[in-house]
Symmetry: none
Subunit: 213 residues, 4 copies
DNA sequence: TATGAATGAGACTTCATTCAT
DNA sequence: AATGAATGAAGTCTCATTCAT
């Protein structure tokens, strides 16, 4: 009864408390809409439907809140399971992956994470590094693993599978990502994405499909 | 007191006044190093070697100063003449362009413009749009024109030259740009750039080189 | 639900309830270490081993808690019985008292009460007044009584015994208290205290010992 | 003309700028009335008749402003020239000094500095140390020097002149300083001060006047 | 009675912008 | 035209206090 460990209200450890989730969700929206600097804790509190003080019960400061959202996002995006089943043929796999990847990147608010994190990377290098490692690099790895599985049986002829994976992911962006992220064009239609991904897949396979005797 | 003095225009329209250029140069450095929000007018004034008040003589506010720099930058980067002489063969041209392009993007502070503008695009959509149109889109156009010049004689077999141009530019970034911009890796060596660009060129030509009978 | 429970008094009047004592002890430590303003209710709750809410069950607010501690302290310090037995000779009595008094004042955290109360006296004059009356003034009285007991038989020749008592108490502090309380010197050694008190006693007796015919 | 050293508006070096003095004066009043913690920069700005922002043009933060006032005060109090002319006889000198010293300490707001600095000493030890060294210790030194000048010719018989000086300064406070600083009594009258100082001087000389053969 | 999550006023500080010189 | 001292709105963060459980 005589408390000792009962106190320490700071930093609620309950990682899944509903208030914590509520804050994360509210903050995600504001950070994404305005960027790190322009997002004020006041606005975040309003958006999350809690008081300013409550923000600081769950997160030590603005940076930590931002990082928590990023980790959350990494988990979330990790769950977006791309189908890299090695039994599927490369053309279908790449086409499907490319479509899903670009839909993710170009969904309203999709590229915003990349944008927002990029913006903060100069002043908070760790944040950028971690985001790259946890989200982008991991994705490259998954695709590279898939490709490697098809090099062995002779379907594909690739020297450097990580580079090839990165190349495919970049080619997919052509004419889609930059116009979208710079607001020079609205989010691309599924149809347009389809065309671009088809072209990307063709290019990739033209370069890396094993030549059969 | 003398009539002459009264005729002096209130707003300095002289686009090339040396003070104006001085401010532009000082501000560019600060904006690029710190990003829009973290760059203070104080720091900019110091970097430009003028007083804070003078800043406001030449530019209405911080946003306008930033936009002016961007336009300036567009002009500047427009001058970085990549050699798109149609007489040169595609392989050499692409290889040289790719090397120069990546060297530009990955030089210390090189990707920073893209990052900085991306960061501001949500809050100042016009700025993002204009930057994309004046710098990135224009570059795609130049490359597309070059490619088109080699489609006619049958060197290349390309359906959509703008898409192809964008694709090449994206492939060049593979494994280089994102790690650099997220500070997950130092600026790549010229050697590494060379390897990646060679691979990108091979992939591009595998897909688009005209098949000869 | 049971009638019995409903009769429980709302405000806990039980001055010696163990929770109350627990709070008082925890808060004393925090107030003394940090001063009134820097002591947060959070820290006090932690130090007392109760929840923040419980603090407000026993004390209306931070001020009232502080005042309660001061009263408590007055009682406590009143119990520090200096030996003012009139049968003992003045020299020994003064020497012993002086040593004990300075040891009390200069022990780590000893002068802190004086400091802490002084600090708050301007904003809470009653607190300062009460502390002076209950602790310091009372001590002067005790010493004055002792002196008076030795004036009657002719051991000491003192006109104003309260003034004389205050004088002795002040002289004892010379070179010890201020450096300590301003952190200009560490707590003085017992040896150093001894020297200073000896000198203080000599001075006092030189002035007030009755001249014998 | 092309500025370089012309900038750096931060931290105006002009130690005697009138704005600086204005702020110092306004802040002194607020700090003294409320203590360090309870004095808000808002209130200080109002009291000084400047905007909050201006405060930060002249002083880096609240601590620095406080320290600046302390240094200012040290200078000020250093100017309160006590007459320690070695040619004057000890009794007169001590009596006059004692009167002036206590008048200083017990003037409205006089002891407040000691109180305010004491209060902050725990959290800002340097401030306390510096105040002790620059103000109190220096004063003890002056008096000790004077005493020493009278030991040589045989007027006074003092072993440890610094201790003796400190003792006299403490004895002067008896029955005056503590009641005043704890607001247990109003500022003492000049008459009462006179009586106490006379008694203090008598005690001091009874102990330290050289015995003549 | 006891808890501790939640609150919101208010503290310190920064910075884009203005204006008298 | 140029200056830089001055401004005050707005930002981040703290903390005494309340209240549903």
């Amino acid at each position: 009864m005589v408390a000792d460990a009962l106190n320490t209200p700071r930093l609620v450890a309950d990682e899944d408390s509903s208030k914590r989730r509520q804050i994360l969700d509210g903050a995600r929206k504001v950070f994404m809409e305005l960027g790190f600097d322009a997002a004020s804790m006041n606005e975040i509190a309003r958006s999350a439907g809690v008081s300013k003080g409550t923000l600081y019960v769950y997160f030590a400061d603005k940076n930590r809140l931002f990082e928590a959202i990023l980790e959350d996002e990494a988990l979330e995006q990790g769950k977006v399971a791309f189908n890299f089943d090695p039994l599927r043929d490369p053309e279908t796999t790449l086409r499907e992956f490319g479509r899903a990847y670009m839909a993710l990147l170009c969904r309203p608010g999709g590229g915003s994470w990349i944008r927002t994190v990029m913006a903060i990377a100069e002043r908070m290098p760790d944040v950028g590094r971690r985001y790259y490692a946890n989200v982008l690099d991991k994705l490259i790895d998954h695709l590279a693993d898939y490709l490697r599985a098809h090099v062995a049986p002779g379907d594909l002829a690739i020297d450097d599978c990580r580079l090839a994976a990165a190349q495919f992911m970049e080619v997919c962006k052509a004419s889609l990502f930059l116009p979208f992220v710079f607001q020079a064009a609205p989010a691309p239609s599924a149809e347009r994405i389809g065309e671009v991904i088809d072209s990307a897949t063709r290019m990739f396979l033209a370069a890396y499909r094993a030549k059969q005797a």
